[in-house]
């Protein structure tokens, strides 16, 4: 490949021609967006398991979701909760984009998803050990009792035969490829809370490199299990505002006390511009930049000075050839933990200098909760909606200004204002960062 060919390749433009999502605020984009700009909260009491004895009793669950989706029987063993959401979101996105993958050659269509391994629920293990515990089984074996069935037989009913495959993070992408007959490149990235941002960055590259002309990208997640609720609580990362679930997620507010775990899926259809034009597709926005970095700091904490996160915002700006003046709105990672919000604010100031105070910054997580591997995809979709509706979603529950977080967080009310270019941030536990730049298509 000659240099000129590389440069020519870099000129490929990546546009967004469809999207779909299943979120705690609604099972379609239209519903989620409506609730989001009305400042509604998708957070409530946990219904997926009995959380009455847990210190954290709230989560952002997907509600009234139809699990009887049209799936071939033989795929059922592979499809977990989050994959179900992903299928619905992908279906909505493809319909939205007007692409019928069953009726065309799909070698030029790829998939790039961010996902997490399916969470184990306590109920799996309750049945796994049935009447005997591992320890007891071991003791009996050591005593020479050979009648005790090996674990794999004891658990025959609880672990699905193909659970190893089903729980794998890459399965959602594989299922989509099968279900929608997609034969181009398939990628999965697992970067915890930044997974889908990384997947979107990868999708952009697949198109820019000419490996695909259309890519289904985004992510899905459902970590709402006993283990994750208890585990994240033990890390002191979750809000314990059980009495006021709707008030629990309060990014950048002085009284924030942690994030609210959620679930959902978001899928976008990215398309190479000339391909989209040829088929007269409606173009909702253009992806113009992607940046990725790592804090190299701590596996739990974000650095207070915003180190790492600023690198990734700068990398995205550089990739897009944009300056800080071009950014009209920042869709923040804004988890509502003490450290993230402080660190993100510092990082935005590092990058935007004085302009940091002029750019509106809001957190969709104040309403959606933290949807982990699907967060970035859903937030990017909301950013695309923001560009199309010229309406910035608010940060709700912003009541007590924090002197350390002193930017314009679009408190409590949506804001009508011209928006052309948006920076969307995602920062993962452990220090993986990814930023995506989306622009009005012109």
């Amino acid at each position: 490949m000659s240099i000129s060919k590389i440069q020519q390749k870099e000129k490929k433009r990546v546009v967004i021609t469809g999207f779909g999502a299943v979120t705690p605020l609604g099972n379609t984009i239209a519903e989620s967006w409506r609730n989001l700009v009305q400042g509604k909260s998708g957070i409530g009491e946990i219904t997926l398991f009995d959380a009455s004895k847990y210190p954290v009793k709230i989560a952002a669950e997907v509600k009234n979701f139809d699990f009887s989706a049209n799936l071939p029987e033989d795929l059922h063993p592979f499809v977990g909760r989050s994959t179900q959401f992903c299928i619905a979101a992908a279906r909505e996105a493809l319909t939205h984009a007007g692409i019928d993958t069953a009726r065309q050659d799909t070698a030029n269509i790829g998939i790039s998803l961010g996902s997490n391994e399916e969470s184990a629920h306590l109920s799996h293990w309750e049945r796994l050990y049935e009447t005997k515990t591992v320890k007891q089984l071991l003791e009996l074996r050591q005593e020479g009792d050979r009648s005790v069935p090996p674990l794999h037989l004891a658990n025959a009913h609880s672990l699905g035969k193909l659970w190893q495959i089903r729980r794998a993070a890459s399965t959602a992408a594989h299922i989509l490829s099968i279900l929608f007959n997609i034969q181009g490149p398939v990628r999965t990235s697992t970067g915890a809370c930044a997974s889908s941002a990384q997947a979107i960055g990868k999708a952009m590259r697949l198109i820019q490199d000419g490996d695909a002309e259309v890519v289904l990208t985004g992510g899905c997640d459902s970590m709402l299990s006993e283990f994750c609720i208890a585990g994240f609580h033990r890390l002191r990362a979750l809000s314990r505002n059980n009495d006021n679930p709707e008030k629990a997620s309060r990014p950048f507010d002085l009284k924030r006390d942690g994030f609210v775990l959620g679930e959902g899926a978001g899928v976008l259809v990215l398309e190479e511009l000339s391909h989209a034009r040829r088929r007269n597709a409606v173009i909702y926005g253009e992806l113009i930049g992607y940046g990725s970095s790592s804090n190299a700091y701590s596996i739990t904490a974000s650095p207070e000075d915003g180190r790492g996160a600023d690198l990734c915002m700068k990398a995205a700006l550089r990739d897009a050839g944009c300056s800080i003046e071009d950014i009209d709105y920042i869709n923040a990672h804004g988890t509502s933990t003490y450290l993230n919000d402080k660190s993100e604010t510092a990082a935005i100031k590092n990058v935007f200098k004085d302009r940091a105070y002029e750019v509106p910054v809001s957190s969709n997580k104040s309403m959606l909760g933290h949807l982990i591997a699907s967060a970035a995809a859903i937030e990017l979709i909301m950013s695309v909606m923001t560009i199309n509706e010229q309406l910035i979603p608010p940060t709700i529950n912003y009541e007590h200004p924090d002197p350390e977080c002193d930017l314009d967080y679009v408190p409590n009310e949506p804001r009508c204002r011209p928006v052309e270019t948006i920076l969307s941030n995602s920062f993962a536990f452990g220090g993986q960062n990814a930023s995506v730049l989306v622009k009005k298509y012109q």
Binding site: P150, A230, F429
Partner: protein, 433 residues
Amino acid sequence: MRRVVITGLGALTPIGNTLEELWCALVDCRSAIAPLCLPTAPLLPAGRAGQIHSFTPAVFNIPQKSLKVMNKTIQYALAASTRAVADAALAGSGYLPHEIGLYLGVNGIQYTAEELFLASYEAGGKDMRRYMDPEHQTVGEPIVFRDPDAAVHPLWPLSVLANMALCHIAIHHNIQGRNLAFSSIDASGMLAIGEAFAAIRRGELDIILAGGSYGLNTLDLLSLDRCGVLAHGDAVSIPFDRRRSGCVAGEGAALMVLEERERARKRGARIYAEVAGYCSWCDATVEPFAKSVVPESHLPLCRCIKGALQDAGCEPDAISLVYADGKGTVHNDRQETRAYEEIFNARCTTLPFATATPLTGYMFSAHGAFSALAAVLCIIHSMVPPLDNGVVLDEGCSLLFPKNTLKKQVTYVMANTFGFSGEHATLILQRHE
């Protein structure tokens, strides 16, 4: 066109923790497959595995207190990364932290059976007799954590999240650049290296640390067995042998430093080999995926191999060695063989093939990275290691597995991962002149 070279290698495997040990074991066919050593071993149908027994975290400067947030996958990854970074002489190389990328293939969240047991045990109120009593065998009864704080270790989420190995490496070596974690079961490690290669070639970065890691654990052995792919009891790892009965699990990590050639040259780095081509491919057909994890066709792997050959701009005839996936299951090996027969035709009888699974077991998310690393060693030493003595191939199978170490110049090596889940990857490595 930007060219990508390999300038550092690091591995931690059942057959050796240094490149020298590893190479000696490969050419001597010294197998590390031994009776499975896990607390739950008596309960597991798989009787043997390739495990790492001689690993001292302190040797790799991993602080004792960090170990509690590191499962084995993380520890191995970190150790191998330390070796690779040292091998590439990255310290003082002039790269700024944000210029260095990190691509890692890992298995996803790992729950150990012990952890889950503990949680279930605590959940039952620490008195499981109730469940043992024949009169109280009401299994469906809902159980909750009486004391979630006691049931789940506060650092537990940190030891299971799929991106943690990557974050530990980033922290340990102060790597701040672009990063991606791959967890596509067994293809993960090779995907990481292949995607790193593609990113450097396209000009996104000049240097990336890439590879894979895998720590053996009860839960994987259980659930893999449920898929019907593991060998039982005393069965050994004999890929491509007609007596094979399944995959024997292994564990380990392999990482390498990939670098843009001119930049590597400028800093005077030692260049082991060049990455010439890469392709990954995913089956998009319902049948093989849904019925089981048994591949029913060799065509997806063929497509992947052809893609990589095209990417490298070389003909099948140019390949001087194939590092096969060699899972050892009846079906995988058969389809893999068919793919080679289709690609190489009559050359299969003269083109040497290699696989390390008889020695190490199958290292899942690390395996593709390890195959690539072993392939580099073959290039360096101009040698092809033999397959563990006396393989009796399938009837009609004509692949050439050397019985003795073969001395020959290795110009192009192809390494393949033929994934259980339908995700495949092929790398083509080239001798660097």
